[in-house]
Subunit: 377 residues, 2 copies
Amino acid sequence: MAHEHSHDHVKGHAHAHGHSHDSAPPATPDSFDEAAHQAQVQATFDLYRRAALSSNQRRRADFYALPKRHRDLLPDYNSLLREVDEKLQVNAELVQRMIEANPFPPPEDAALDAPAPTDADHERLRSTLRQCVRDWSETGRNERDTAYQPILDSLASCFSHLSPSEKAEIKVLVPGAGLGRLAWEIVRAGFSCQANEFSLHMLIASSFILNNCSTPNEFTLHPYLHSFSNIRSREDLLAPCLIPDVAPSDIAGGEAEFSFAAGDFLEVYGDAPGSWDVCVTCFFLDTARNVVAYLETIHGLLKPGGLWINLGPTLWHFEADRDSSSLELPLEDVKALARKIGFELSDEREVKTCYTTNPLSMLRHEYTAAFWTARKV
Amino acid sequence: MAHEHSHDHVKGHAHAHGHSHDSAPPATPDSFDEAAHQAQVQATFDLYRRAALSSNQRRRADFYALPKRHRDLLPDYNSLLREVDEKLQVNAELVQRMIEANPFPPPEDAALDAPAPTDADHERLRSTLRQCVRDWSETGRNERDTAYQPILDSLASCFSHLSPSEKAEIKVLVPGAGLGRLAWEIVRAGFSCQANEFSLHMLIASSFILNNCSTPNEFTLHPYLHSFSNIRSREDLLAPCLIPDVAPSDIAGGEAEFSFAAGDFLEVYGDAPGSWDVCVTCFFLDTARNVVAYLETIHGLLKPGGLWINLGPTLWHFEADRDSSSLELPLEDVKALARKIGFELSDEREVKTCYTTNPLSMLRHEYTAAFWTARKV
């Protein structure tokens, strides 16, 4: 089995498109200076420690600005802030290790042209840390079970007649692969798989986990320190999360290949020949500015009769972005479009799942995600 | 029964603090020009039609910028946008009626000093329209049943021994009253009630509904046109909602009084004598910059032995606001604080509920809200 985390298909740019409402979408590829972006992302990782401690320092300053009578009613608040500081330092060590292993370091001098990290950049990094929980921790198991398992089950049942070495010949593409767990699970199930991801934050974190983590539960992350809202108790706020839950290198043997391609989906696969057996899209379609182009590209890259498995919502990422064009279709219109483009849909259903949710939080964002499998006709 | 929607306790300022993550919190009262704010809010209502149609026009422009081959795959998209335009016009008529009845019109010339409405202002108005659905439509019934009913049940059981005219002597205060439905239900249950609200958007909408709507289902609103994300079908996107579901003037007889006080809770009630029998806080505590001051004020305004009923999350509204101080406590710390201030808590439990959620949406934000009743000791 070749298990390499190759970044050799670099085309286009790496962008964050965290699956949340409030992350400002990035600029369009055209308006983009690659080196400056790399420098800005590098600076975001480098500044994590300072930005996180500074947010907590704001809390401390606000506390000391309260009337003494109020402070006296909160005798343990200061010690809570101290504990948060300590655990932010633990996070910062992990973030520092990730950026030290950055497979896409900016060229020298690029920092001169790079804008300073914005609030949105810092939020993209925090979102990447939440992705670590989703993809590579025991805490994320429920999300993975609800979102990835229907896909893995569908794959397994479609190819159950194949021998292990025949399975390893099946080429699966996972665009929008994030931190790579779904692609990794597909390889573990015996298929060859290429993960594709655009976000440089994600690429840095996934490279670190896949290439630099050797034993389970090697690193500690405290993922819930960045917001005190909707938290039941101090323990919940401070809770640790161990990553990775598995040894990433421990993919059961066989000839299956695993690769990771960095770059924009449309740029990397837009004119790909129909050479893929399967395309798996999980929380991906709605990252499109133009979902027609996404569906055409998926159709084009598949072999005749090839399989497309989709699971995800229609939270159109560029709907609120004034600097980008955006096409937002109701779910039923997406399906009608897929049929027009040349897919035969089956096993259509809805799956309730979350995305980088804190399971301890008193606020829960639950998606009713659409699931289907489709054949290229 | 005196049922007047009096706005005669105006102190402080009216602000939006929509219960959502992404609405930028307003400035602190101190930094605030009242007349300019009134003019800005008035302008936001006045510009609703143009802003809404312009968002939809952006969709049309983006569609026409697609390659013709892509447009041909979406033959019905244009007619969808046309229908959305038509229904936005229906919304705009309601918004226009609301602002024509504005009980807080800006002084002449105030518009000269007022900043133009920002994206956040437009979002506050859209959030106010979603509040209309929550408080005054059949669509909002589930949210009201889950959030208001536990409070109404608790009130009813605490005062079940009273005669109707004794009940009418019980003075209930509802700060953060929003569009007033909970306060209205409390009056309908026979208690005297004062609603208090700070947001001028809310005050304009609640005044319109309470004073200008005479018959059930008088107005049509299409509340889901502003975002195409997480929508299953065209029908769901275009769905109408009739308001109000009841005739607001139709509160069953008796001597109970109903009043509406505009202004900041701390400014209006900060030094109030202990003259209230009950304080009801529903999705309110976390609007505090300083929750200690809120709890002190609730304690101060109650009679000895007075009752405090709370239901809500701890989504601290000012946590991300750089221009405001903010104190964010885990839920358990809020309860410990309440005990220190002089409350005896009972009936503590958790209640699952939503807040201005589109029940048809494929994305659901569900709160595990904290409920308790407390006695001033």
